[in-house]
Symmetry: D2
Subunit: 372 residues, 4 copies
């Protein structure tokens, strides 16, 4: 239990370091009967992959995903799905000078204190590259959710002080169409400004923070468990497990704390035999359980800690040191993290979907009467 | 697994409804050898208990905690600690009119969809009263953490639009001394204004939201696990599992997203043979692992959804309805939630503390060489 | 995690010591919609309860079960079901002389080494009385299994050297009708001989071991998971978790190890459109998954370790001692353990039943298409 | 959660099918600081590997283990250790005729009912080849246990009706020296007879069952948890999770059920300041917790279900069929399962060792006072 497994029924275990032979994951609990091939997963890997974008590191990885088990003749069998990708473009020499030194804003010091040893090459297990394995798993979870009509889209809503206008009316498909730019903003004007800001930060040997929004549609009412495993608690955990995330909001988030009850409650009425909420301040979750509305999440990232400016730090022998981080690093984390956000939400929802099947006696009877 | 158990080694399972015979919890995994009595827990119950404060419901519960197992001659034995309190002041008749109707902003609709049945009396399992059991467990976890020099203090930092001045320099003891007012603000001027605001909201049959800050000191470096079980992810989950929480920030939180790397990184140097961070933008956690700095968390609550104004809603038979919520309710959630925040942080840290003992071969050897 | 929780979806946490105020359990994950009252559980408590039988301890407990949560208007709500019973007839003085001494064949020494402290009164947490809480939980699980046509019956197949004749043709109902005697043997002749043997052992200040068989009918094919969570592995764990169990057999058990493949394989053919196995050497489980046949288990118990004869032992200060165990003890464990066996099997199967609902995409679709 | 993960702190997740590209496992929670290389693991793979022995299948696999993560400069880092081996010698054509038919004594029928689809090539996930990944993980656990002076040796004690003489006085090293024969018996006379019996069974197109004993030394007192996670329950689960195991005994096992308390209790006295048990009927575990004595386990295997004789069965379309299983199969399972038994015991003990570090406040203090 060094924390690399998540989920109760739809479980994912990841492994791998930035500069080891590769990374991968094992999904245990994906239901049998789902069509699945590498073509379903590769586009997710490609979205996460560093490209030639000014918003991303210069590292180039093919990130070709391989399915090693759990799929037979294109269909999941219910047994563990192992996914793997190789590391090919490792410049370990770039990191040689940080073998001893703890980089400010990074996990180096903490890993050293916790484990007494760390794989310093590219951050080892604490590298953002670790998320590649999550993204692969998330692609499988997303494929499952699509069978139930769910969709997930995360986009950049702010980089530094450049924020996009309101796009809350857009569907996931419309958002995806609008965000084809290197910073993942569904607004081309904002994207241009953000890119300019980013170039300035890079030139100043500095980095930017930013914010993402995640919009999830088609979620059936009833997902999530009361008390500790509320759906918002599980999503919160999933999102805070992404490196550099410093805040998470659900629905109105912080704004709700300044509203009155009469302003924040979502009233409801029937329309065509179905309940319709007149607003969605709650962000689709009440009492920890989905209410059938869209789930709306905001995720805030700190600026990339790797910067080329000299910074004061210490080394593992307890000496004061000055460090300038060369390597290849994203000057901002958000754009490449969008697919990671989607992956973590997909994993969380897939698990909640499976767990919820056992909530009611009548659901169980529907399963067992069918199977006989 | 309806989500009422949390933790890996220091586990807590809670049970009970607002208007059933009582509530309780089972702590499984508290180390043997800790001095523990009801006197350690009762003050926590008393802090959570509704009093005569204008900031709280008029419901009166003795909330006398009983230890039913796991403690022998004043010392924990390592076996499950069962804690229980009785419900005594239940006005079930107050809730008779909401047996059919789903209250806006509450879990009623979601529970109905998930389970097909719900205990509507006082919100049943989704009542804020459920947190009494967590608080009892949290008091035990806190007692354990004190053995290792940790301390935790949560206070109200804002109610509606009334925010307190900066108190980040205060220690937990100083904060506790300063926050002896009905709204839990460590600033008497702000507290007065907040109380006035609250009276106005109550008069308007409305409610307020607000924000809390949690300050945790003495945390050893090394707690938390990489990847999915990062300490911030576990704290985030714990805090989002408290009803009405809509946002969580760690360290700089949202502010970090507008900073540059050179502004947000915490530089470090040696002082008297120990590492000293020159700032704490990170809030005590890097790469998901505690770095020895204070942990700083902000938690944002929506306004109490129970308001006496008429609101549109539906009933379980699919009819449009108007509801006015009478009952006895806190006009704001934050002040009574402070002890719940502390409890959830204590539970999370106690579990992380125990798990971390197995991280290193040399730690294991220290244990087993001692025991022989 | 001191090991008092079991299950993944249908989870049970027990608490309580032999001479504390009471014992109880929390069932988290029982599906909503099941009719449940104390009348469903009390008969199970009564079966476990020591009576005036020569096969049982003279301790007298009312063992009146109370449901404290999770049931509303006679129906489970899907939230935690807390069950509790009080300890009333405690003769703590009987155990005063073993406060320091470790009883041979008991957990005393091990608890002392593990925890450094133990509640010595009546064995504390390691007392057989702990199983009362499991039995209460098992009664709930059994009620759920009955909804799916499953039945479970455990009976005594041997006490000391007295073994019953073959009763494998009897149904659970027939077995229950036949085993109304103090030793739980479904054969009155054998029961008479066993009682005589037992009287002799008691007179000799000694105790007997024995064996039970558990016969489970109506199990749908498909329960259990491949690899580590095979249904036989989970049943094995559940049964070995009962104190004094020293061996477990499934189907042919040890006998299978002396058979040839051609003798042990269960051949199969179709009858009226359904598969019929021509034998059941496997005991209803193949590859860790139920095959729809009856599940057949044998469980072997060591003799009660508490005997009044003088025995050599040590005390917690490292002195050699001689001990004679007075107290009130069953001279044989099997008869009162039958209901514990049934409870542990019921818990295991209920959990497997729930988990299995998520195995197939078509099962999930049956649930979610129904709920909309 | 299709059951391919086991353990609480020292967790193992396995993946892979008999005829897919490979098999592997992820160990999450191995403490940092352990020396580990492929040379530690490969000998375990070689022991499990089918060779040219008359007791084993003719399939030939290099089974070269690769460490893909979690080890840096020859030392474990505390992060997930991914291990993998490739499948190279797959004769899928051999299995073409069983794509539709359910082999008697195999998991085929059950997988079909559970998942609706199965990878029939060589049994897919239910193949004995799956245990290769467990063995790799077990080798790592064993390396860890050796740091604490523990040792584990499993040997064949019976094949069909050929049983070895008593070897209980031999140490693991002596046993290993004595069992260098194709059937893993620590007695060359018995081995000769067993091989002759085996040749006869093969000639008759049949197979044999058998029994193994596992002898574990150096276990510290205190491992295992009370109630559900008793050490014997966890070992029982681990052993029953090995395919074809039909019975498990601990210590005296079934024999204990025929003894009297005065015969079965292990008396104790002090010798040189340490407790010495005068016998070990308990097999090293009392009340679910290790007592410091050797752990003694017996494991019974059914005969290999794959036999070349014609057998009646059905196919997935519900037709009666006759099947003769050609392929390449071990005529007896026990000899190659010995290393699997050791692996499962090692995994169970490693996890119990880690969990136990958090049992006592003084142990925790030993860890945290050391780390500062």
């Amino acid at each position: 239990m060094s924390g690399s497994t998540t989920g109760t029924l739809f479980t994912v275990t990841t492994w791998g370091e930035s500069h080891g032979p590769g990374l991968g994951c094992v999904i245990d609990g994906c239901p049998a009967g789902l069509k699945l091939s590498e073509e379903d997963i590769q586009p997710w890997m490609d979205r996460r992959k560093p490209g030639g974008s000014p918003a991303a590191t210069a590292r180039k990885e093919a990130d070709t995903i391989k399915i090693l088990s759990g799929v037979f003749e294109g269909i999941t069998t219910g047994t563990p799905i192992a996914l793997m990708l190789e590391n090919t473009d490792q410049h370990s020499k770039d990191y040689g000078d940080i073998a001893e030194c703890f980089r400010p804003g990074h996990a180096d010091f903490c890993f050293d204190r916790k484990f007494g040893i760390r794989d310093y090459r590219g951050g080892g297990r604490s590298s953002g590259r670790e998320t590649a394995a999550r993204v692969a798993a998330g692609a499988v979870a997303y494929k499952l959710l699509r069978e139930f009509g769910m969709d997930i889209c995360a986009y950049t809503k702010a980089l530094g002080n450049i924020a996009i206008p309101d796009v809350s009316a857009l569907s996931p498909d419309e958002l995806r169409a609008a965000m084809v730019n290197p910073v993942g903003m569904p607004d081309s004007e904002s994207a241009k400004k953000a890119l300019a800001l980013l170039e300035g930060a890079k030139a100043a040997m500095d980095s930017l923070g930013g914010a993402a929004h995640c919009h999830i549609t088609g979620v059936p009412a009833g997902l999530g468990q009361p008390v500790f495993d509320k759906l918002d608690a599980l999503l919160g955990k999933a999102l805070f497990s992404i490196g550099a995330v410093k805040a998470v909001e659900i629905g109105e988030g912080i704004r709700a704390s300044a509203l009155r009850g009469s302003e924040n409650n979502d009233e409801c009425h029937m329309e065509n035999g179905r309940p319709v909420f007149e607003s969605n301040h709650a962000g689709g979750i009440l009492g920890g359980i989905s209410n059938g509305n869209d789930i709306e999440l905001d995720v805030y990232f700190k600026p990339t800690p790797s910067i080329a400016q000299p910074q004061s730090t210490i080394d593992k022998n307890g000496n004061d040191r000055t460090i300038e981080i060369k390597g290849r690093h994203d000057p901002v984390i958000v754009p490449r993290a969008l697919v990671v956000i989607e992956a973590m939400c997909a994993l969380t929802l897939a698990d909640a979907l499976l767990i919820n099947t056992a909530s009611r006696l009548d659901s169980l009877k529907a399963v067992y009467s069918q199977n006989v």
